[in-house]
Every structure is written in structure tokens, then in C-alpha cells.
């Protein structure tokens, strides 16, 4: 106890929270566009969703640049090492108050399961949402782009699948925040940058 590690840098924390806010807002507006409920009204929901999407694009441009120039992208390289250990911890150890098998450090800030999950989000959910969202946004230009046989229904359905996966990720993510060394350790780390262990 008392050992403090500086894990999340300033930009990273800003990126995380800005992205969190945007994604929550886009789920809120997105599922309204989907017809799940009425809140802003369809037209405003679409406009807000679009603005949020462009903002997220901007944020990502900076984030990608940051990851590449700082080498932080390495934190998302998957590893099989300790995956089983982590899985065993979450499924039994955690209930027996065994110590957390993973100690985050500046060089290795994500545990192996996190790495896998985030990579999955990055490689599967994000592209699905981005590509379909992009097509959705530029529906008017499909003909000019030679996409005459593409159907809005497929694109919309793909986008919806991505949204549901994101929602499931979001729910789990919120919960797993509480599974640090203490219930608030993770969230504190994402706010202050320092993780106590």
C-alpha cells in the first residue's frame, strides 16, 4: 500500500473522458435515431449525433497522432501471458480477496484481458461503427461513389450491431472500473493519473 504509479498522462485522461462523454451522448442520440425512444426529437438527435461524430473524428486524429508519436500504441499489443491468470482472478480469486495478479506500470498499464478487449473494440467494434457511420452520413453520395447496389438497410443494421456491442462494452466497462485494488482505484487513476496499489 501507498505505492503510487503515474499511469495515465494528461492527454490520455482528457482523451478518455472526452471520448467517454461523446460515446455516451452518441448512444443516447443514436438509439433515439434508431427509434428506441424519443428525447430530442429525430431531427435534433440526428444533428447532435452528427456533430458528436465529427468531434470524435477530430479527437481521434489527435489521439492517433499522440499514440504514434509517444509509442503509447504498444499498450494495445495483445499478449496471451497471464490471460488465464486474469480470467481465474475475475471468476474466483476476486471473491476470495486474493491480491490482484496484475500491477499496472507506466510501461504496462493494461492488464492482459484489458489489452484483448480494447484491441477487440479497436479492431472490430470501432471499424464497424466508423465505416457504417461514415456511409450513413454520406448516403447522398453513394451513387457518385459508385455504391449504387449498397442498401441503407445493411449499413443501418451494421451500425446498429456496432452500437449494441458498444453498449455491452460500456456496461461491462463501467462495472470493471470497480474491480481495482479498491473499488475506486481505477476511476481515481483515470482522474488523477496516479494508481495506488
Amino acid at each position: 500500500m501507498g505505492e503510487r504509479v503515474y499511469i495515465f498522462k494528461g492527454f490520455e485522461r482528457f482523451w478518455h473522458w472526452a471520448q467517454a462523454g461523446l460515446i455516451m451522448f452518441m448512444m443516447l442520440t443514436g438509439f433515439e435515431i434508431h427509434g428506441s425512444y424519443a428525447n430530442f426529437g429525430f431531427e435534433r438527435a440526428v444533428n447532435y449525433h452528427t456533430i458528436a461524430a465529427w468531434t470524435l473524428v477530430g479527437l481521434w486524429v489527435f489521439a492517433i497522432f499522440w499514440h504514434l508519436t509517444t509509442g503509447e500504441w504498444r499498450h494495445y499489443i495483445p499478449t496471451t501471458e497471464k490471460v488465464l491468470v486474469m480470467a481465474r482472478y475475475y471468476s474466483s480469486g476476486i471473491f476470495r480477496h486474493e491480491p490482484h495478479p496484475f500491477k499496472p506500470s507506466q510501461l504496462n498499464k493494461h492488464n492482459p484481458l484489458q489489452r484483448l478487449t480494447y484491441l477487440g473494440v479497436l479492431l472490430f467494434i470501432s471499424p464497424l461503427i466508423w465505416i457504417t457511420g461514415w456511409l450513413y452520413l454520406f448516403h447522398a453520395d453513394w451513387l457518385a461513389w459508385g455504391l449504387s447496389s449498397l442498401r441503407l438497410e445493411w449499413v443501418a443494421t451494421g451500425h446498429t450491431i456496432g452500437a449494441f456491442l458498444m453498449l455491452a462494452f460500456f456496461v461491462s466497462h463501467i462495472y470493471l472500473v470497480t474491480t481495482g485494488h479498491t473499488a475506486t482505484a481505477h476511476i481515481k487513476a483515470m482522474i488523477t493519473g496516479w494508481e495506488e496499489s
Partner: protein
């Protein structure tokens, strides 16, 4: 002759000269009043400077200068009431088709032809080749006083006349000479004198055309706004050789031709929105132009019809006609607003104001159930006309439509619709006698068609695409009107509408996964909580 009188004369003369002089100076200061909207002030033509006794009398004078005009009219639907649909091969036109309003022209000529662009069509023997029987005034009146009451076969009343004869009601004669001397271009008032009153009364038939459109404000119609753009009908229904563009028999549902431009040969319909606005009219939002590849402009820009304060008929049940009061007289019932909803001679009506249209895929094909066609399903609904179209034919757009529903007489033995004799002050006219079989016998005989003598009623529908009463753009439909579960396009197939449509399997699985992760998280948390307590 004294000096005094000479002086008087000189004085008067001087006064006269002064007057002339002063009048001249006024004239020199201000240019003389000049009409700038036309090159011809017809009141100055000597051909028109006499008393006219009748419509044909006026027409003869018109034709003395406008030598080709009558011949041009003779070629049109307005004159012939006949139209051969080149696609379906059906012979249409008012003379042939029937509808579910007043049903049919046959045997009712004198009443119906009050809206014929001619004089004297009182029965099937009318001679369509007579030039002086063309009615110039009904389209070219500018005084607003020219009227052709029903029952006179298209003739106006030029002297005070008892009408119908023996009724004691005097119809005042119009000053046809004044009308003739003041002729000018057609206007909303002249076209409207028939087209506003189709179906037997103000606004009855179309729903998007009624007397409120004579001088509408911008809210009612952005183009015809009398204080703004002030379009006449002919601004869009651009007419040459007296043949008015635009048709209900072969409408243009999808206009791929784009805007009409001077110097470019444009043979397409000049009365479409696209013929002026082109196919990409939305400058700010490309997404709306994308909408316009599937939606007719009218769908969003005419949110409701019958918006001008005049109700339109929405249904007409002829089977309820024929009631009489205790004294055996015909009755009339009105609704709370004083509008007629029942007449013994016509049956029961439903009226509507600010009516939301129904929507259909429409490719411009309009087919009719003619009086010679067999009715397939007498128990179901017979569509008197129906609109062709599908989401996949590449020619259809989603259109707003007034669907007019009714119930009308048919012949259950021959399985055909019938043409009853309604108007007419005689022994068989239904409106006077309220007896169906006699009325139908007369009507069918006049049309040269068989009738079994049996009468029953069949439910019918007619489809009237809506195209007038274009609202200001701020009043165009909001997205959510269609992008919602039970929106306006709830019944439209073949197009994916976000907010309305969703893949049910994806939705079920998606919510399932989200719920599972929630339950999983909660369960896991609960177990942790329980485990902590144990220790």
C-alpha cells in the same frame, strides 16, 4: 341674338378652352393611364363595342380576330372531355369515366356541362365541330361576374331568368357585354370557376383546390400567394395553342428532365416542381436532395390539404340517399359547423379540413375501372382509379394522395358500375324522384349500356394525388413525421426509414447482450459483496 348671348357664348367658349387646356396640361405632366400587362385593351376594339345577346354571339366576335383559337380549343381535353391513355389504351375523359362523387356525365349533360368550355352540350348529339360554341369567356373573364349555372348546358344567364323553371327562384342575368369587353389572361379565378368546384361544390373533389386559392396567402400556397409571388395557374400549367399542360390521366410522377431552360428543348411537363426547381433544390442539406430521389416534393412540402378554411369531401355514401321527412320532402342535415353532411338526393358525406394525406408509391400510371369493366369483388372495395407504382420499378416516388371513399350504385347482375341519371327536372332524375332503378335505366340507356334493373351498392375508392397548397418551407414536414414508429409513411414498403425500421433480430440480440452484460456485472458485484461480508 343680342350682345349678351354672344358674350355668354364667348365666355363659355373660353371656359371650355381653359378646361381643355388644363386637361391637356394634366395629361402632359402625368403619362396617360396605360395598361402594362397587355398590348390590347379589348374595351377599345370596335368589334366588341356593341351589346351581346349570348355566349356564341361573343365568341363570333372573338373569332373575327382570333381566327385559330376555336380550332385550337377543339383539339383539347377541355373541349372533347375525351382522352385516350396511350399506356393502358383506355378511353378516358369526363365523357367516359365515372367517379364516386356525382358519378357520371351521361344523361346529365345540361348540369355537368356548365363546366364545359363550350355552349349548348345538352345531350349526346352535341356537335363538337361548331366554332362559335367554344366558350372564350369562361377562361378569359377578368370581371369575376361570368357564371354558368348548372342546367343550362354551359350557357350563362344574360337576362334575369327563373331557374329551375317554375321554382320561383330568379337568377340575375350577367352583363355579358361588359365581360366581353374586359377579357384578359386566364387567372386563378377563371380556372377556379370550374376546378375549385369539381364534384359539385367548393373544394369537394380535389382537396388541394378550392375557392380559398383564388387569393391565397403565403401560408396556404407559397407560389400563388396573392401578396407575394402571385402565380396564376398558367404560370406552372404553361399553355400553348390553348392546350393546358398537366394531366390527371397521365401525371408526371418522377421528373428526370430537370429544370426547363430557355434555348433547351423541353418537351416534358412544365407543371412539375422539378421543371423550375430542378432535382437538387436543397442548397443547405444534400441529405434532403437524397430524400428527393424517393419522395415527391409534394410529400414533405404539402403537410396537409384543405388548409384554406374550405372543407373537402372525404367520403360519400350514396346508399344512404333517399330519406324523406314526415311530409315526404327531401331533407338536409348539417354538422356543428353548418356544413351539409346529408342530403336526400345525394346521401351521407364526411368532410375534412387540414387533412393529412395518405401516401403511396406512384409511377404516373393511372388506371380506371370503367363502366364496361366487370367488378371482381362486389363485397370488397372497387377502386375506380388506382395508381401504379412500386419501390423497385425505378419510376416511382412516394406521393401524397387524397383517397376518396364512397359507396355507390352498381348492377349486381351485370356486375358493373352504373351511370345514373341524377340531375334533371324530369320523371327519372334521381335528385328529383329518389328512385334508383328508373334513374339508372335512363342513365345507362343514354350511355348505350345494358342494365339488369337490379340495384345494389358497392364500396369504391378514388385516388387523387395532391400537388397544390404548397406550404412555406418552414412548414414542410419535420423529420419525425416519417422517421418514427407510427409516422406518416408507416405503410410504405421497400424503403429503409431510420427511426421506423429496425432488424428485429438484431434488436433482440443487441438488447439481450446489453442486458446480459448488465446482469453479469450485477451478479459478479453481488457475489463480491457477499464474499466480503463472509470475511
Amino acid at each position: 341674338m343680342g350682345l349678351n348671348s354672344l358674350r355668354q357664348a364667348a365666355g363659355l367658349c373660353l371656359a371650355g378652352l381653359l378646361c381643355l387646356f388644363s386637361a391637356n396640361t394634366v395629361a402632359a405632366d402625368a403619362p396617360r393611364p396605360l395598361k402594362l400587362t397587355t398590348t390590347a385593351d379589348h374595351s377599345k376594339f370596335k368589334e366588341l363595342q356593341r351589346e351581346f345577346q349570348s355566349g356564341p354571339d361573343v365568341t363570333k366576335a372573338c373569332l373575327s380576330c382570333h381566327t385559330e383559337a376555336a380550332g385550337q380549343i377543339h383539339r383539347t381535353k377541355h373541349w372533347k372531355w375525351e382522352f385516350l391513355n396511350p399506356v393502358s389504351g383506355q378511353t378516358l375523359g369526363k365523357k367516359s369515366v365515372l367517379n364516386n362523387f356525382c358519378i357520371s356525365v351521361a344523361s346529365n349533360y345540361s348540369a355537368c356541362t356548365s363546366c364545359h368550355v363550350g355552349y349548348g352540350w345538352k345531350d349526346a348529339s352535341f356537335d363538337f365541330s361548331v366554332e362559335e360554341n367554344v366558350d372564350c369567356l369562361v377562361c378569359h373573364d377578368t370581371t369575376g361576374i361570368y357564371k354558368k349555372p348548372p342546367g343550362l348546358a354551359g350557357n350563362p344567364v344574360v337576362k334575369d331568368t327563373e331557374l329551375p323553371p317554375g321554382s320561383g327562384k330568379i337568377v340575375k342575368g350577367i352583363d355579358i357585354t361588359k365581360v366581353a369587353q374586359k377579357v384578359g389572361k386566364s387567372s386563378r379565378d377563371t380556372c377556379g370557376s370550374c376546378h375549385f368546384f369539381g364534384g359539385g361544390g367548393d373544394g369537394v373533389k380535389h382537396g388541394d383546390l378550392d375557392s380559398s386559392m383564388a387569393a391565397p396567402d403565403k401560408e396556404l400556397d407559397v407560389h400563388m400567394d396573392a401578396t407575394g409571388l402571385d402565380f396564376t395557374c398558367a404560370t406552372c400549367h404553361k399553355t400553348s395553342s390553348h392546350d393546358v399542360a398537366g394531366s390527371r390521366y397521365t401525371p408526371t410522377a418522377m421528373d428526370k428532365e430537370g429544370a426547363h431552360v430557355r434555348g433547351k428543348e423541353d418537351k416534358s411537363n412544365p407543371a412539375t416542381c422539378v421543371s423550375c426547381h430542378d432535382n437538387t433544390p436543397h442548397k443547405k442539406d444534400e441529405r434532403l436532395n437524397q430524400h428527393a430521389t424517393k419522395l415527391a416534393c409534394q410529400t414533405c412540402h404539402i403537410p396537409e390539404f384543405a388548409r384554406g378554411g374550405v372543407a373537402t369531401k372525404m367520403s360519400w355514401d350514396w346508399s344512404k340517399a333517399g330519406e324523406r321527412d314526415a311530409e315526404g320532402k327531401q331533407i338536409t342535415r348539417k354538422d356543428a359547423k353548418g356544413r351539409i353532411i346529408y342530403e336526400s338526393r345525394k346521401g351521407a358525406f364526411e368532410l375534412g379540413e387540414n387533412v393529412r394525406p395518405e401516401y403511396f408509391w406512384f409511377n404516373g400510371d393511372v388506371n380506371y375501372t370503367l363502366v364496361t369493366d366487370k367488378i371482381d369483388k362486389p363485397d370488397g372495395v372497387t377502386r375506380i382509379n388506382w395508381l401504379g407504382g412500386s419501390p423497385t420499378d425505378g419510376k416511382s416516388m412516394i406521393w401524397p394522395v387524397k383517397v376518396f371513399r364512397g359507396s355507390q350504385p352498381y348492377d349486381p347482375e351485370n356486375k358493373t358500375l352504373v351511370k345514373p341519371h341524377t340531375a334533371g327536372n324530369d320523371d327519372t332524375g334521381y335528385w328529383k324522384n329518389l328512385v334508383w332503378d328508373k334513374a339508372i335505366e335512363t342513365g345507362m340507356k343514354d350511355a348505350g349500356l345494358p342494365f339488369s334493373g337490379k340495384v345494389d351498392f358497392v364500396k369504391t375508392e378514388m385516388f387523387w394525388p395532391i400537388t397544390h397548397m404548397v406550404a412555406p418551407k418552414e412548414k414542410a414536414l419535420a423529420c419525425s413525421e416519417c422517421h418514427s414508429k407510427n409516422g406518416r409513411l408507416a405503410g410504405i414498403q421497400g424503403v429503409y426509414i431510420p427511426g421506423r425500421d429496425a432488424n428485429p433480430l438484431v434488436d433482440r440480440l443487441g438488447w439481450g447482450i446489453a442486458l446480459l452484460s448488465l446482469i453479469g456485472s450485477l451478479g459478479h458485484g453481488l457475489m463480491r459483496f457477499a464474499a466480503r461480508r463472509k470475511h
